[in-house]
């Protein structure tokens, strides 16, 4: 809130305050403040707006911090002897109007505001209306309590009813805008009309104008939550609603009522009727027990009790009981934010200076621990980086186009959508990292060739209406040729598996989807751990991609179970290995893995290892594929003879021809 120093000055006995210093002290002990050109710009914290968000409020804070005496307005009310109850009736039908105070002044002479008042309300952000309305706003900024003045003669039967709105009731504001209400909003009404949307805005019906003679001044406190809700749902924010949302202090409201009555009397004349409307009870502050010993441990400061007592006195906090280190205190009526012991600790700390707390070391209570998902992410990122892959950042949300093209990846699950998306591009939370990875390829394809990119992020989806979040790894390789890119992605997969010490026993089950030329799901122990493939031409076109892109997306929750932090060492042996490669044709439908499985089951002497060297699809044989296997033979006790190995190879050839109709090349 911005304050004019020339206004604040009037509230201090000391007329020569150093406002630079005030601003510094406020910043370090209360609110961030900038002083510039006669204006104090104070960022009043939300919990302190009720007591400090006004000229008197901030003056009180300055007074307490700098020990400067206040010069508060002296209010004198000259009532006549006509009783207010004969002139106005107020009926409060809702608990949401917690306090309702009012006064009536007859025979005022309203006018345009004097220049000083016009300038005042304009500085604080409002337009000047007329003397009485401007004075009400003046007092609002002065005391932090919004007031509303009604033209008494425009109120039917001079009877005010405070009630909650019914659903679909319509409120017409001063500027003749219509607001349809939901029900439950607080209204100031008479028997016919809605006079005001309480705490937010008035209507034309009981507006004070230059012809107004008799007025009713409303000084009320409305429930902060209701005002917040109403203001938000109608998108109607006013100086009054801002204050009510942050809670208005009833005592201040009462003071504001007296202040405006005396100001109107002084500047617009009239007769103040005897008595006032007083609905609601003013609660006394509750005592708080403060343990000073605990406070020192809580804040980490050394402070003498007499200093604490001085701070409390400056804060207008009363001490009602004192027993060694325990004191019972009573906060001032306008500090409704002070409710528990810790709130008092904060006040002491502010006055002590939070920046004066010295550092000290607290030993740890446990050994360190790094979340295992985060740790695995770090490992994978480094492995992929080693292999020439770069990480890219992308937002976690996808759009309709992505959803449409990649929804096959959802399988049985549902996607997570934003109720209020930030834009059309970011409507759904990613259930696969692939669409946005492809966009990252597009962003980089002009500047870099043979891109290898990856992302590790959380994906999310709905499973039986429950949210499921997990880490996913998606990487891709761009190339001019689809097969080439697939070979590269397989290389990367093998490397990753090797570095993570994952056993080599995955199966690939081919599947069809909307975005791949060819794809397979990857299974380990019959559980899906990921998907591998190469994007089809349609996606290439839709996503403006210049190259073929092979991709692999792995479910890191599943992968994590397969990862080992190390492998046991196997000695390479004292005797030479004999290596034999065997190439053969089989029907292309034959599962390569089943060939390996069959061979492993057979008893083949001295066989140490079988590796797949190559698989290709010859152009001249439609229904065939060629497989080249490498067999490594070794004996741990002696050097093998070539003839021994020949025998075993013969055995292998027989198995292959018998089981798979293999034609040896």
């Amino acid at each position: 809130m911005k304050f004019r120093v020339k206004d604040l000055k009037n509230y201090f006995k000391d007329k020569n305050l150093n406002w630079e210093k005030v601003s510094e002290v406020l910043t370090m002990k209360a609110f961030e403040t900038v002083y510039n050109d006669g204006i104090l710009d104070v960022d009043i914290l939300p919990n302190r707006f009720s007591d400090a968000g006004s000229i008197i409020g901030i003056s009180q804070e300055i007074s307490a911090l700098l020990e400067k005496k206040l010069n508060l307005p002296k209010i004198k009310i000259k009532e006549n002897n006509k009783k207010i109850t004969n002139y106005v009736k107020v009926l409060n039908k809702t608990k949401k109007a917690t306090h309702y105070f009012g006064r009536v002044i007859l025979n005022v002479k309203n006018s345009q505001s004097p220049q000083w008042l016009k300038e005042f309300v304009e500085f604080y952000g409002l337009n000047s209306v007329n003397l009485i309305v401007d004075l009400a706003n003046f007092v609002m900024f002065e005391y932090g309590a919004p007031l509303h003045v009604f033209d008494l003669d425009k109120i039917k039967n001079k009877k005010i009813i405070v009630r909650e709105a019914k659903p679909n009731e319509v409120f017409i504001s001063l500027d003749e805008k219509e607001y349809k209400l939901k029900g439950g909003e607080i209204l100031i009404t008479d028997e016919e009309k809605i006079l005001a949307l309480a705490g937010i805005k008035g209507s034309k019906f009981a507006e004070v104008d230059l012809n107004t003679k008799n007025i009713f001044i409303e000084a009320a406190v409305f429930d902060s939550g209701t005002i917040y809700k109403t203001s938000k749902s109608l998108n109607l924010k006013t100086e009054a609603s801002y204050r009510f949302e942050r809670k208005v202090i009833p005592q201040r409201t009462l003071m504001a009522l007296e202040r405006i009555s005396s100001l109107i009397y002084d500047l617009a004349g009239g007769e103040i009727l005897k008595g006032k409307i007083f609905i609601g009870t003013i609660e006394k502050p509750k005592p708080i027990t403060v343990d000073l010993e605990r406070m020192k441990n809580f804040l980490g400061i050394e402070i003498k009790n007499e200093i604490i007592l001085k701070y409390l006195k400056n804060l207008r906090i009363k001490i009602i009981k004192k027993e060694k280190e325990k004191i019972v205190i009573l906060p001032p009526e306008d500090r409704i934010d002070l409710k528990n012991e810790e709130d008092i600790f904060e006040e002491i700390l502010r006055f002590y200076g939070v920046d004066n707390v010295l550092q000290s070391f607290e030993p740890a209570y446990h050994e360190s621990y790094l979340d295992e998902n985060i740790e695995l992410n770090y490992r994978i990122k480094n492995i992929l980086k080693e292999l020439g892959f770069s990480e890219v950042y992308y937002y976690n949300f996808i759009n309709d186009k992505d959803l449409e093209n990649f929804k096959d990846l959802l399988e049985e699950k549902n996607f997570v959508s934003a109720l209020n998306p930030i834009s059309e591009n970011y409507k759904y939370f990613e259930f696969s990292l692939l669409p946005n990875l492809l966009k990252s390829f597009r962003s980089n394809q002009k500047n870099f060739k043979n891109l290898k990119l990856f992302r590790i992020e959380k994906i999310a989806f709905l499973e039986n209406k429950n949210i499921k979040e997990k880490y996913s790894l998606c990487f891709g390789v761009s190339s001019k040729d689809k097969i080439q890119s697939l070979k590269e992605i397989k290389t990367a997969f093998n490397y990753l598996k090797n570095k993570l010490n994952i056993k080599d026993d995955e199966e690939f089950i081919e599947l069809k989807n909307n975005f791949s030329s060819i794809a397979a799901k990857i299974l380990v122990d019959n559980k899906k751990i990921g998907i591998i493939g190469v994007i089809n031409n349609k996606i290439k076109e839709l996503y403006d991609l210049d190259f073929e892109i092979a991709f692999l997306e792995l479910d890191l929750e599943e992968l994590k179970r397969l990862v080992n932090s190390f492998k046991e060492f196997i000695y390479w042996g004292d005797y030479p290995e004999i290596i034999r490669d065997l190439s053969f044709f089989v029907n292309k439908e034959i599962n390569t893995k089943s060939v390996l499985k069959t061979l492993i089951k057979e008893k083949i002497n001295n066989l140490k290892e079988i590796k797949i060297l190559d698989i290709y699809f010859p152009e001249n044989y439609d229904n065939k594929k060629s497989i080249t296997l490498r067999f490594v033979f070794q004996n741990q006790k002696r050097t093998l003879k070539e003839e021994e190995v020949d025998q075993e190879i013969e055995k292998i050839v027989n198995i292959l021809t018998k089981n798979f109709k293999a034609q040896i090349r």
Partner: protein
């Protein structure tokens, strides 16, 4: 030819060869030079023609000299040949070959750096959900519905389930954290958060926060000050001054704002610190008794501090990046200074 003049001529041949070979720069002229001196038509090649006129004694003597000269020529030839063959032209300012450098994002490498620092400072490092309930994000942290405090966090809500949202701060894990890991405990929760907020150079709708929590019988502001001093010094790799100011968060009491001396201008004044010399880098405070109660912790027995800082803000200050959207760009050029 007489013996003496023959001997002189043989030695002369060697001298001439030694002189001429100095000018040779390539293998072809080297071979030509060799042929010129040792070839069949050369003086030395035809030396036997002169032997007829000599005695056997003289032949022996000349023969010996001839062999020495021939060997020297051969030797010199071989040495020069090796030198020519080894000769390579290379300018060491050559740029090397073009490759794609593999990089991690700045966010990734700095995230790691920060978890490393906090591990050293005795903090556990936890992961936590991005999608949380309204209770976790707000109510459990003393931010009731219909309270203006909620305006501090503009929220992206889920369509369904109702009352779920993309967490607006990592504080959403505070209560769960304290329920799971009972005090005394000290940990950080780094991760992404989301805001329904317009994007500009300083703001984006996604960013990372690091939440820190310490609850014990002792944890207080002086310990928090120690942690901050060490953390910023280790992160920025230089000494930074610290400044604590009062602030307000519904879930801490007292609350503070943490400033560091401007790492760009060292407090001499620059546009980044708006000529104040200070940069606001974190919010913190003593955990509110309300929050401890939500986590079933007796606030008269245990106490603790919590803090939150923004990863992107720290990266931008350290690497002098002036737009958060650079950090959130898929362009590999954005990774360039990442290690």
């Amino acid at each position: 030819m007489k013996k003496e003049s023959l001997k002189e001529e043989i030695l002369n041949q060697l001298k001439k060869f030694q002189n001429e070979i100095k000018e040779v720069k390539d293998l072809k002229s080297l071979d030509e030079l060799k042929i010129k001196y040792l070839g069949r038509k050369s003086f030395l090649g035809e030396i036997s023609n002169y032997f007829k006129e000599l005695t056997i004694e003289e032949r022996k003597e000349i023969g010996k000299i001839f062999n020495e000269v021939k060997n020297k020529i051969e030797e010199l030839y071989q040495k020069t040949k090796n030198q020519i063959e080894e000769k390579i032209n290379f300018d060491f300012y050559h740029p090397g070959l073009e490759i794609n450098f593999s990089t991690l994002t700045l966010i990734s490498s700095n995230f790691k750096k920060i978890t490393d620092i906090f591990s050293q400072l005795g903090f556990l490092v936890f992961d936590s959900p991005l999608i949380v309930s309204e209770y976790e994000n707000f109510d459990s942290l003393n931010i009731p519905e219909y309270h203006p405090a909620r305006d501090m966090w503009d929220t992206i809500w889920l369509k369904e389930p109702k009352k779920y949202l993309f967490r607006t701060h990592t504080s959403s894990f505070q209560v769960n954290f304290l329920k799971k890991y009972r005090p005394p405990v000290r940990g950080i929760v780094p991760g992404k958060v989301f805001r329904f907020e317009a994007t500009d150079a300083r703001h984006d709708f996604e960013f990372y926060q690091i939440e820190g929590i310490s609850v014990s019988k002792l944890s207080n502001f002086s310990h928090l000050r120690y942690i901050f001093e060490k953390f910023f010094e280790k992160y920025f790799e230089k000494k930074v001054e610290l400044r604590f100011r009062p602030s307000y968060f519904p879930f801490t009491e007292p609350s503070i704002e943490v400033d560091i001396s401007c790492v760009i201008c060292n407090k001499s004044g620059c546009p980044v610190c708006k000529y104040t010399g200070w940069l606001e880098v974190a919010g913190a405070g003593m955990i509110h008794p309300f929050v401890l109660k939500e986590a079933n912790i007796d606030s008269k027995q245990f106490q603790g501090y919590a803090f939150g800082t923004g990863l992107e803000r720290l990266i931008m200050l350290k690497y002098k990046i002036n737009d958060i959207r650079i950090l959130h760009s898929p362009d590999l050029k954005a990774n360039e200074v990442s290690s």
